[in-house]
Symmetry: C2
Subunit: 120 residues, 2 copies
């Protein structure tokens, strides 16, 4: 059951109630794709670095495990439903895959929510 005393409940309810105008959807799509591209490019670079350093069989399977974790993490992060998009953008901001300037064009209430969630 929803815990009404939990401030996150109110934030999540607020997120679901957000409306996205067409210009905001364009900004959101662009920022989402940019974050995905940045994270994928960084993962490709790290994959090459890690592979180049493998010496022992145990390191080979640790590397495979790490790469599978990266795929699962990216799959779960990049969820383009408007109801969760502020949380997605908050994570991308926090982890450095997008900058606040990439979100310019979103309404102030959304920007404020994203900024707040990114510091949690």
């Amino acid at each position: 059951m929803a815990n009404l005393a939990n401030p996150n409940f109110h934030r999540l309810t607020a997120m679901n109630a957000l409306e996205w105008s067409h210009p905001e959807k364009v900004v959101a799509r662009k920022a989402f794709d940019l974050g995905l591209r940045n994270q994928l490019q960084a993962t490709i670079r790290e994959t090459k670095d890690r592979a180049a350093r493998i010496q022992k069989p145990s390191e080979l399977w640790d590397f495979e495990n790490w790469l599978t974790d990266r795929r699962l993490e990216i799959d779960s992060t990049f969820d383009y439903r408007y109801s969760v998009l502020p949380v997605v953008f908050a994570r991308l901001l926090r982890d450095g895959w997008i900058k606040e300037s990439d979100l310019l064009g979103l309404e102030p209430d959304k920007l404020e929510l994203i900024r707040r969630v990114s510091t949690l």
Copy 2:
């Protein structure tokens, strides 16, 4: 139910009936470990080569998939039960991970069986 008309049935029955002397077990262990070491070293080399060539995200996930397949293949190949060891050695011979000379010291009936299965 076992198919007595299938020549593989007789080969498998023959394999189960094989006895391994202590000196043969020493030879078998050495050849098994050598084959595993050779396949792992080749897999590490190929992993580095493939990772270095990745350019696009889709190639990253194809690479992860390829590496997981290698782990599953190696896990299923290297089965040190005496009842299946002739088949294991036949595969290692066929795939070039060991040479016939690595099996010297096994009884002629086993060598003949391994040689025959490796050509199947």
